[in-house]
Symmetry: C2
Subunit: 137 residues, 2 copies
DNA sequence: ATAGGCTCTGTAGTAGGTACAGGATCAAGA
DNA sequence: TCTTGATCCTGTACCTACTACAGAGCCTAT
């Protein structure tokens, strides 16, 4: 280990443990360019600092909130630029909210269809099945 | 073309057109075993009859309703057995409805979070951005 | 006969990861 | 100091559910 002035760094396994991210996913995020290439030890082991841990948490949170990788890249571009363009982030978020609302609408319609079909079921072992019939219709 | 007694058959392209299914997807469904291997012309071209068209429509509808391929296989097993076990189909459908409801709940929570965050936005080009901040939190 | 449309096959690509094989390296105990 | 087991490295294959393409063969109308 280098000297007293070295910042505290962690390796991939610890980063994974601390963030709850899968070990391999970290490498994947590096590959697709959302995580920067980290420093390496002499033996080639990746080392991460606090900034990189914060960035990974940001990524994980954005993914949790359903932002696609492409949308996430948009957010990261803004984050990485020195002046934060709040307007752009707002647009991106609104677009994402619209997506989510559309999905909810679709799923509600689906749920209704399934419930309607299912409600007709006699639940016996009769040869007629309204679910199957509905699927054949 | 064979004789007068040959049932009306269509080729892959027409089946795709009639059902709205992608051409390649038909071959894919054959590969994964949800569509049967069709008859072939002497030159090796696939030919489909009415039963097979109905089966494909069934598959497409089940997929539209959000059944996974695995769930679909379950449905098809029941369809293929001579006596339709209505109870089993009911169970499968209920489980699927539960899934859909869970997804809706998740998305609603997500939408709320995003809206709350987004509502704090001043929409200016200020350096502080509540969306970014929330993601970093 | 030939043009252009269809079909065939196998394979690669998509999103967003996850898993594994076969090595190298590190840290801690005997 | 040696050894053992955990961790790390790389590349690649796998997952779902398709979709797209290349290069070949076939089919039909003119």
């Amino acid at each position: 280990m280098s000297n007293h002035f070295t910042r505290r760094v962690i390796k991939r396994g610890e980063l994974a443990n601390r963030t709850g991210c899968n070990l391999e996913t970290i490498r994947y995020y590096e590959k697709i360019g959302v995580m920067p290439e980290p420093a390496r030890t002499e033996a080639g082991h990746r080392v991460y600092d606090g900034d990189q841990e914060r960035r990974l948490r940001f990524i994980l949170r954005a993914r949790e909130l359903g932002f696609s990788i492409e949308e996430l890249k948009g957010l990261l571009t803004i984050v990485d630029s020195d002046h934060l363009a709040c307007g752009e982030v707002y647009e991106l978020t609104q677009a994402h909210i619209a997506d989510v609302r559309e999905k909810i609408t679709d799923l509600r319609r689906l749920e209704k269809t399934l419930s309607t079909i299912s409600a007709k079921c006699a639940r016996g072992n009769t040869p007629e099945c309204p679910v199957i019939d509905a699927l054949f219709a």
